[in-house]
Structure formats: C-alpha cells, structure tokens
Amino acid sequence: MITVDLAAETVRDLNQRLHDLPADTNERAWRVVNPKGAHALVAGLDRPVDVLIEGHVGYYCAGMNKHASVVIGGHCGVGVAENIMSGEVRVKGNASQSAGASGQGGLLVIEGDASARCGISMKGVDIVVGGSVGHMSAFMAQTGNLVVCGDAGQSLGDSIYEAKLYVQGKVESLGADCIEKAMTPHHVEKLGRLLARAGVKGDPNKFKRYGSARKLYHFHVDHADAY
C-alpha cells in the first residue's frame, strides 16, 4: 500500500500522482493520512484504485470519480462524490450538503447522516445513507436510487423526474410532484440488493418508496401553485 502524508505533500501532488497512473497500474492500493479537511481530495480519479483516507475531508472529495473505490474514514464537506460517474465512494462518518450531487453512476454510501440536498440533481448514481438526510434531498433528481435508512427532511424529491427514493423512517414533507408509490416485490428485491451492495443493514420491507407524479412534466397554468 502506498501511503501519502498530506502533512508532507500537497493535495496537488497527490492528485497528480493518481491522475498519472497508467491504465494497467499495479499501484492500486493507496492510503492518505492527515487530510485535515482539505478540498478536492482525490478528485477526478479515472483508474480502478482503492484509496483509504484516514480522517476528515473538505469539499468535493472524490468529485467526478470514475472506476476508483474511495473510503473516507471521517466526515466530509460539501459535495462529496459530486458528479460521480462510476466506482464507489464510502463515507464512514457524516456528509455535508449536496452529497452525490448530479452523480451519473456508481455508488455513494454514507454510513452516518447526510445534510441538505443529498442527491440533488442526481442522474443515475445510487446513494445509500445509513442515517438521515436533510431538506430538499433528491431535488430535481433525474434517475438513480436514493436510499435513506433514517428520516428525510422537508421537501424530499422536490421537482423529481425519474429517480427512485426509498425511506425507512419519517419523511417530514414531500416536495412538488413527489408522491409515495407502491412498494412492490420487485422494488423490495431491488432495494435489498442495493442495501447488500452498500453493506448497510436494513430490512427492505420496512421502507416506503417515493417518486414522480409526473404532473409537472409539461407546463400548465393549473400547476402554477406547484412551481
């Protein structure tokens, strides 16, 4: 395992080393110590490497991740795994706002809680949150799955498109055009697989499913109150 100490090296040095890895690299196991809340850590990875970050990180950790598997040992700042394309990002602690924002693929696991706007504008990513999520989560969520084992704050799934939301606990309120939908055996099975893939314990039968009523897909004056 290659260890990078950010007390001695810069984020720029670390990211450049990771970006420079050839496609067939053998240097696949990386450990980062002393992150001290640094921003844009391991952003833009494009190789199937495993990165363990021991500590807390700042904004946009693992942003636009492709192929890599990143584990954040502590808490993380705004926009963890924003626009993730593939691979997996796991947060052992809590996540700040906009976790997985506009993510297009891959898996984001937050073992603790996530703050507001978790999964905002998501476009295909799967997000599994062990705890609760804040307000306006899954705002304008397009596709993908957001799983919340705890509670969801106000206006969950506001202006949602085709993403699927699963919440085990209470939902403070649903946003515009977001409704509860039937949890069919198909959805229970799918959710069970997703929980297992995320390594998060949970009984899929205890979740409720939410999604789009598809009433705001075309502008209409009678929907003016919803906009």
């Binding site: 506009s102 297009q104 905002i120 397009q142 502008f219």
Partner: protein
C-alpha cells in the same frame, strides 16, 4: 356609422402587441416563453462612435499596415492558456437548443477562423468536439451531460452562473425539442418540458465558488483556463467576486443576449444592457489591478466589427456572439416563408426557437428541418461573417491609429446620447461631460 380614422387613437400604454399578449395570456394561462433576445429599444454600442485620427493622431493605412487581432485567454493560472487569432468568439449554445448540423457548422467556422466555440446546457457532442479546434466546455447548474472526460478534452472550462437573457433564471427546453438523443445526453425522459436549475447544485456563494474552481483545476491538473460567466446585473460585484474566486477569464453577458427558450418577462425586464456592463466589469478589474491579467469577454447584442471594437476600446479583451451567429447561419432569413407563417410569424420577427420548428434548420432537432442547414454551408456563411467582422474591426482600429485592436482605448470613443455617455462612462460628443462624474 362610418369610422373617421383620424378619431382612432391607439393607447400608448396598451399598444397592439401588449393587447395581443394579454389576450394570449388570458387564453392560455401561461407566460410567454420564447427564444431570441430582448426586443425593446436599449442603449447600445450604436450610441458610441469612434474618433478617427486626423492631425492629433495619425491613422494606419488600410490593407497595408498590420493591425493584429490575436488574443490570449487564461493567462492567470492555467498551464495551457488559449491563443485565438481573432477576439471574436462564439458564445455557448446548447445541443438541444441548436441542432447537430448547426453545432458542427459553428465548430468548423471557428476552426477555420482560429477562434473558439462553446458548448451549452446539454453537454458536448462528438460533432462539435471533432469540428472545433478550440472548444470551451460549459459547467452549468443543470450539469446535463457533464463528465470528467469532456472536461479533460476541452480547451477551456466556463462555469456558467448566469446568462444575460435571464440572470437569476434557469434554462428551459420545451418537450418538442427533447428527442431521444437530447434526452439521453441529459438523462431525462423524451418529450418532457425540461427545466434547468438556476443555481448550481453543490455550491451557493463566492467562497464556495472558489473551492469549486479549485476542484475543476485539480480534475484537469490546472491545465485549462477557467472562465466564469455572469449575466449582467450587479456586474461590478459579480466580476470582483469571480476574480476573487480564481477565474482566469470573466464573461459578462448583457441583457441583449439571446436564449433558446425563456420567459419573455425575463428577457425584457431582468438585467442591464451590455453597454454599462462593460464599463462596470472593466472598473472592477481595474480596482483589483487585474485588468488584462484576468481577461474580459463581453457578449450580449454584439453584431458587427464596430460593436466588437467599441467593447474592446472600453476594455474588453474579446467578445462573444450568439444570436448573430445564428443569424449568420440563416436565422430570420426570408426563405421557407410558409414555415414562418405556420409559426404565426414573419422572417425578421421570428423568435420561435423554443418550438423546435425553426424554418431554416438552426434551432431544431427535426431531421427534415435540419437538412436545410448543411454543416458545410453553415460553416461557410459563419466564416464569411466572422471575416467581415474582423475586417470591420481592423478598419476602425486602423482609423484610430492602432496596430493591434487591443490598443483601442476609451479615448477613441464618444457618446451620441446622454444615456449612453452615462452608462458607458464615455464623454458626450463635443463635450468632456460624462454624466454622474465631476459632481453633475
């Protein structure tokens, strides 16, 4: 009873187009959404003129003496700033709003002219990447089609915060234009009225923007110039904050800037004209000692080499054209008249980009309509137009005695109206008066 036409007095408050709009709103119950840009009369670059050389300054010989036009963009932080042969770039217009042929035509023309084209809300198409030597990749609030591969293969990145036609508003693409290909690129269902967010999903203020720019630089190894584009409103503050956030280039888009689909109320009533926006942006850069270090691109109603020259004389490094690009490609051209009529309009008045039924094949996804604009023909038209703009720009620069267009300066301009003098900070012709300065 006969009507005496002399007794008919139209209302200035309710002229025919206002009456028609109220009737339409009452019928349909929805605000007007349309394309193109502001149609109201505004102070423009036409309200400024150049002071050609005479005794006090001598001109350069047209067609003989060199008048350079090149510009470097992104010299502040980027490892690979871009070098353009001309200071006229093409503004961001999305695939979705424009058809693939139009995007390819733009890319080809820009490559031939040595300038840059820009993606739009919807991501980068293969056609435009292939055809554009220098391509600016927009990072927009919607993040449609955004991916790190395209970030790496672009030549510059433009973080779009706002657009002159609708500062503070998000984008729209009505269902008629959400074809299978457009929907796939945007990860949306086919045929829905698509809304783009007005704010970025993962940052909210200037401090966050600083970190966002840092992330984009990290992902691209600090190679790409990073632009920040703002719609012209509180321009002085927005430009200062963009500079503080680490922008290499600031793009300021005035309210004459075009759009593919926006509420009319936004187009006509939000934002400030390009003329004062240029002055405010330049003053902000000068106050920070960043003028010419952070480059300024101005857009919003630029139509000619004269417009470009005036913006540059006021302190811009380059201009961007969007609506004028479309016009060069045939927008509002008097051909296929019957198709204008089907849209309820006439050539010269058309603003129906939002319908996807563009009579000249520019702002459409319809395969049959797109055939009306071949990439080859479109590229030729746009190349011709850009060449004319450059010749005009060089003509006025030489007339002012400049061997490089960037040597144009505010002293080369005077204003024809009090309003333009005040907004542009340029003295009224024949006086040394700039309204608002010197205590009166």
């Amino acid at each position: 009873m006969t009507v005496d036409p002399r007794s008919l007095r139209p209302s200035a408050t309710f002229p025919p187009h206002i009456l028609a709009e109220i009737h339409r709103a009452a019928d349909q119950g929805l605000y007007e959404i349309r394309g193109f840009g502001a149609k109201r009369k505004l102070p423009t670059f036409d309200d400024l003129v150049f002071l050609g050389a005479s005794v006090s300054r001598y001109p350069l010989e047209g067609y003989r003496e060199k008048c350079a036009t090149d510009v470097w963009l992104g010299t502040r932080f980027a490892k690979k700033p871009i070098h353009l042969k001309i200071p006229i770039t093409i503004a961001g217009m999305s695939f979705g709003a424009l058809g693939a042929n139009a995007k390819e035509a733009i890319g080809r023309a820009c490559t031939e002219m040595g300038t840059s084209s820009t993606t739009g809300d919807g991501g980068m198409t293969e056609e435009e990447r292939r055809s554009s030597k220098t391509l600016v990749y927009q990072v927009l609030p919607s993040r449609y089609g955004l991916n790190p591969d395209d970030l790496r293969r672009c030549d510059a990145i433009e973080v779009v915060i706002g657009q002159g036609a609708k500062p503070g508003g998000g984008g729209m693409l009505l269902g008629m234009k959400i074809t299978k290909r457009v929907a796939k690129m945007r990860a949306l269902p086919v045929g829905i009225d698509q809304r783009s967010a007005c704010r970025h999903p993962d940052w909210t203020g200037p401090d966050d923007l600083t970190i966002k720019i840092q992330e984009l630089r990290e992902i691209t190894n600090w190679e790409k110039p990073i632009y920040v584009k703002v719609g012209a409103t509180r321009t002085r503050y927005d430009v200062a904050l963009a500079v503080k956030a680490g922008a290499d280039v600031v793009v300021v888009d005035g309210m004459q800037g075009g759009t593919a689909a926006t509420q009319d109320v936004f187009i006509e009533h939000v934002g400030i004209p390009t003329l004062p926006a240029v002055r405010l942006a330049v003053e902000a850069l000068q106050e920070l000692d960043m003028h010419r270090k952070v480059q300024l691109i101005v857009s919003g109603g630029i139509r000619s080499g004269a417009d470009a020259g005036k913006a540059i004389a006021m302190g811009a490094d380059a201009v961007a054209i969007g609506s004028a690009t479309m016009v060069a490609l045939g927008c509002n051209k008097p051909v296929h008249i019957e198709d204008y009529h089907k849209l309820g309009t006439e050539p010269g008045m058309c603003h129906h980009c939002h319908t996807g039924r563009c009579p000249v094949g520019v702002t459409t996804q319809d395969p049959e309509l797109q055939k009306r604009l071949s990439p080859e023909q479109g590229a030729r038209w746009l190349r011709n137009y850009l060449s004319v703009m450059v010749l005009e720009l060089q003509t006025v620069a030489r007339a002012c005695g400049k061997s490089h267009v960037h040597n144009l300066e505010p002293d080369d301009l005077v204003a024809l109206t009090v309003e333009a003098a005040a907004m542009a900070g340029i003295p009224l012709a024949g006086t040394s008066w700039i309204p608002g300065r010197g205590g009166y």
